[in-house]
């Protein structure tokens, strides 16, 4: 049993059985591995965002192909994201390390720390387990020993509540042989957002242009906070024009946005993905008191805003980050 699996087993053995806890049994060692986040407290009024570091198990340097995920998080989760660790700026760790951050402060909240870390998978669905088999013949490639970071965010304040505290787990189910096609990911974020009290339907749209050819989007989800009214995604051609008459993804639910997992959207050659967020704020709301009570870019749900897109596609050319 690998070191990771030992840690996982110990964590599972020690966890409580709270009714609102979202538990996920790990796969058999022969079928895959689990990234496990043990229970932690989220006190009333707090936002907790922790970053957990894991190594992909296996013979160091060997390929590890995954074609199926299960993602679980307690009720109240704001998000659970997994990234591949690349450039370490002010956030890093060895396998088994945890970086704790709270209320918008700390390196696990500072997004520039993982600006070039490719997204692996994500969920925003609290209180349930997402069963996500990849399309037939598609797998995501890892290298045994590769460092991954699981970031999990819980809010126990006015916009969201976490009655059972924080907890999450992700199962990676491995393949016996390499698949026909490799999965790639796109993480896109819109910067310098500012939504002020009284604003109605303030929109932000950005295009992520990628040098893909013959690429198919098979899953996507959007992420914003409680000022968000609508999140949409479309695909654009080489000149930047939307090519679908209606968005391929629409969310009007900020706290439990849908994860579209059965898409078959072609990205035009030379084109890319467009994503648009629309925001409104009540005239009596207050984000940053020192900035006219406006809500600006950042990870703190209560007082800041995001407009992030998670897109999963094949065949992979690269994992892209767009700004």
């Amino acid at each position: 049993m690998s070191r990771l699996m030992v840690v996982v087993a110990l964590a599972l053995a020690g966890c409580g059985g709270g009714g609102a806890e979202q538990l996920l049994d790990p796969p058999a060692t022969s079928e895959g591995f689990q990234l496990n986040v043990p229970s932690f407290e989220v006190a009333a009024g707090d936002e907790v965002q922790n970053c957990y570091f894991f190594a992909v198990p296996g013979t160091p340097g060997s390929d590890v192909w995954v074609d199926h995920f299960k993602l679980a998080a307690n009720l109240g989760t704001h998000h659970l994201n997994i990234f591949r660790v690349k450039t370490v700026v002010d956030l890093g760790g060895k396998p088994g390390d945890v970086v704790l951050s709270k209320n918008g402060m700390g390196p696990c909240f500072k997004s520039s720390n993982w600006a070039d870390w490719p997204i692996v998978a994500n969920t925003q669905d609290g209180g349930q387990t997402i069963d996500w088999p990849l399309p037939a013949g598609v797998g995501q490639k890892f290298t045994a020993g590769e460092l991954l970071m699981l970031q999990i965010h819980f809010v126990n304040a006015t916009t969201q509540m976490s009655p059972a505290g924080g907890r999450g787990a992700v199962n990676f189910y491995t393949m016996k042989a390499a698949p026909a096609m490799e999965m790639g990911t796109i993480f896109a974020t819109n910067q310098n957002i500012r939504v002020c009290p009284g604003d109605t339907n303030r929109t932000y749209e950005t295009h992520c242009k990628t040098p893909l050819s013959g690429a198919t989007i098979f899953a996507a989800n959007g992420h914003f906070h409680s000022r968000g009214n609508q999140f949409t995604m479309n695909v654009v051609d080489a000149q930047g024009a939307d090519t679908l008459t209606a968005p391929f993804y629409t969310s009007t639910t900020w706290d439990e946005p849908p994860m579209a997992r059965d898409l078959a959207i072609q990205i035009p050659d030379g084109g890319g993905v467009s994503w648009t967020c629309s925001f409104s704020a009540d005239a009596s709301a207050c984000g940053n008191p020192s900035d006219s009570c406006c809500f600006t870019f950042g990870g703190k749900v209560e007082t800041q805003e995001h407009c992030n897109a998670f897109v999963y596609y094949y065949p992979k050319v690269a994992d892209y980050s767009c700004f």
């Binding site: 009720l75 910067q191 310098n192 002020c196 009284g198 749209e205 040098p211 009540d282 700004f323």
Partner: protein
């Protein structure tokens, strides 16, 4: 998550004032209603709260915003338009084939300048399109140091609209040499290997 139990929801629906959602912007018209809208592209470097008019051939700064990448902060100063909830759409295009290289669009509120033109608040980078050119994922074209068309369109809520395009040279402009080197690395085309490690090249790693 489910924020409120059903009984509490019923209570909320049944009492209390309705949410207030009034815009604080007074949507006045500025200029001559008999004339079509006029526009000049303006940029800022995100450091000094100044606007610079963009003329043909000008260098426009590429700067690093909080999350990452390299963007040009571009907007327009306009007249003969209304000022609130103006849609601005900024786009870089390759002059060789008109391909879009970067796009950002947003709604902003303009302010009236002493010259009688509407303009963005130079203190707020959210009032500019943040048009990203980098990281550049092309293997064929550098996105800094080459002439590129910068296209801005402004449309107010009354339907007045204007588009202006200028050939410009996006230029990594940080005063910090390390940041500038990172920008050049991120904005140049990918090597044939498709693998690039800009932070290490720019000695940004820790």
């Amino acid at each position: 998550m489910r924020l409120l139990p059903p009984l509490l929801l019923i209570g909320v629906i049944g009492c209390g004032p309705p949410p207030t959602m009034m815009s604080s912007c007074d949507d006045t018209f500025t200029g001559d209603a008999a004339q079509p809208p006029e526009a000049m592209i303006v940029v800022t470097d995100g450091v000094s709260p100044t606007l610079v008019d963009v003329v043909a051939g000008a260098e426009v700064p590429l700067m690093r915003p909080p999350q990452g990448g390299q963007v040009t902060y571009a907007a327009v100063r306009v007249r003969n338009m209304n000022r609130c909830g103006v849609s601005i759409r900024g786009r870089f295009r390759d002059p060789m084939n008109n391909a879009e290289l970067g796009f950002d669009g947003r709604t902003i509120d303009l302010v009236v300048g002493s010259d009688g033109w509407l303009r963005p608040d130079a203190l707020q980078l959210s009032e500019f399109t943040n048009v990203a050119l980098c990281p550049n994922y092309s293997t064929t074209r550098d996105n800094q140091g080459l002439t590129t068309n910068l296209e801005l369109t402004a449309t107010d809520k009354k339907g007045h609209t204007v588009t202006v395009t200028q050939p410009v040279v996006p230029t990594c402009a940080s005063a910090d040499a390390t940041e500038r080197a990172l920008c050049v690395c991120e904005c140049n085309k990918l090597p044939a290997s498709m693998v690039r490690s800009c932070a290490a090249d720019a000695d940004m790693s820790m």
